[in-house]
């Protein structure tokens, strides 16, 4: 994954530390299960997924509620997913 500065600031990560890892590996185990079983296939099949809540392990190892919306996009003809991540309630 590639993360922008806002994501890194918000969740306490260094951008370099996130290069090449999967987004779901930042999630708690419960969230990883739902990400793999429902969110990821739904995103691939529908091309988008909106307002799904997960729990993310922040850079300071705190669990943070987040809300994720995602879109399938093309970058230089490569299929990618753009995730908009915001703090949850």
């Amino acid at each position: 994954m590639e993360a922008d500065e806002a994501f890194c600031t918000l969740f306490g990560y260094l951008s370099q530390a996130l290069v090449g890892i999967r987004f779901d590996s930042l999630l708690t185990k419960v969230s990883q299960i739902l990400f793999q079983l429902h969110f990821s296939p739904s995103l691939r099949l529908n091309g988008k997924s909106d307002g799904v809540q997960f729990t993310l392990k922040s850079g300071s190892t705190e669990n943070v509620q987040i809300v994720v919306s995602a879109r399938a996009i093309l970058i230089e003809n490569d299929a990618c997913y753009e995730l908009l991540v915001s703090p949850g309630r």
């Binding site: 779901d24 185990k29 429902h38 296939p41 099949l45 529908n46």
Partner: protein, 280 residues
């Protein structure tokens, strides 16, 4: 409505394809029959294709939901057998993903004559570790956390269903989009399905499988790790095991070409073996 018709309606059964021999595709937890849309068409020229939704998923009949029947995987296995009976099909190739792999195993042990082959993608007989004998991949508290979340916060984990749950009758375009979307689940029923899935332990059934079985194991699969696939292979006599290059838990969605190639190759090899025996 006849019993057969009610079964086909209950599970929103779809039949396609030009062949005589039948492949039944069964989706796993968290999605519906649309999961097969990148894979099933590759078989339509030579096979009859059967797709369906488990109750609580996709366009299944939610009114048919029975909390007792569907509190165990055996209830879903009974549905598979009823679908085969309603379509009057037998000698099927059953392709099951994730928990549907175990559902297929249970159905095949109950009615072995119906099944020619089991193709299992990311199967697991038990998700919770039972150390030192068995590594399932999860601690009990992981699964309890999952079930708690699904029971109490179902509008959140399923995301796109939330507007329907909260009521949005004034936004018909949104309702139409949701109706036409893929991977639909009823979050309330899904939490019962999750309980039946993630608390299950069907290790004792594996040695009873008499149907030839092909196990497809993904790389870096959090839900069904390699240890589980290896255990399945060891416990099901004569099973064939293939490691996939695909990562994650849903290769038929993320890596459909490899999934189609491996299933096709396996079925060709089976057919070649059958022809060889017949010609001997």
């Amino acid at each position: 409505m006849s019993d057969k018709r009610s079964v086909l309606n209950r599970n929103h059964v779809t039949v396609k394809g030009k062949g005589d021999k039948v492949i039944v595709f069964a989706h796993g937890f968290g999605c519906d029959q649309s999961m097969w849309r990148f894979v099933a068409p590759a078989f339509e020229e030579q096979w009859k294709i059967v797709l369906f939704d488990f109750v609580g998923s996709g366009s299944s009949d939610k009114k048919a939901y029975d909390p007792v029947r569907y509190s165990e995987l055996s209830g879903y296995a009974a549905d598979v057998l009823e679908i085969c009976e309603a379509l009057d099909i037998q000698n099927i190739v059953y392709v099951g993903h994730s928990v549907a792999a175990l559902i297929g195993i249970l159905a095949s042990v109950q009615s072995p004559a119906l099944f020619d082959q089991l193709v299992l993608i990311g199967p697991s007989p038990r998700y919770i570790n039972d150390l030192p004998d068995y590594i399932g991949g999860f601690e009990r508290e992981d699964i309890e956390g999952l079930l708690r979340l699904m029971d109490t916060d179902y509008a959140q984990w399923s995301g796109y269903l939330a507007p329907i749950i909260m009521g949005n009758g004034d936004r018909p375009a949104l309702a139409k989009e949701l109706e036409e979307s893929f991977c639909k689940v009823d979050p309330e029923i899904a939490s019962v399905f999750a309980r039946a899935t993630f608390l299950s332990d069907h290790r004792d059934v594996l040695p009873k499988v008499a149907t030839p079985t092909f196990i497809m194991q993904c790389t870096e699969d959090l839900i069904a790790p390699l240890e589980v696939g290896a255990y399945m292979h060891q416990q099901i006599r004569g099973s064939t095991f293939r490691m996939m290059e695909a990562t994650g838990h849903c290769p038929h969605v993320s890596h459909p070409d490899e999934t189609v190639a491996l299933i096709s190759e396996y079925l060709r090899e089976v057919q070649a073996g059958t022809d060889k025996v017949a010609g001997a």
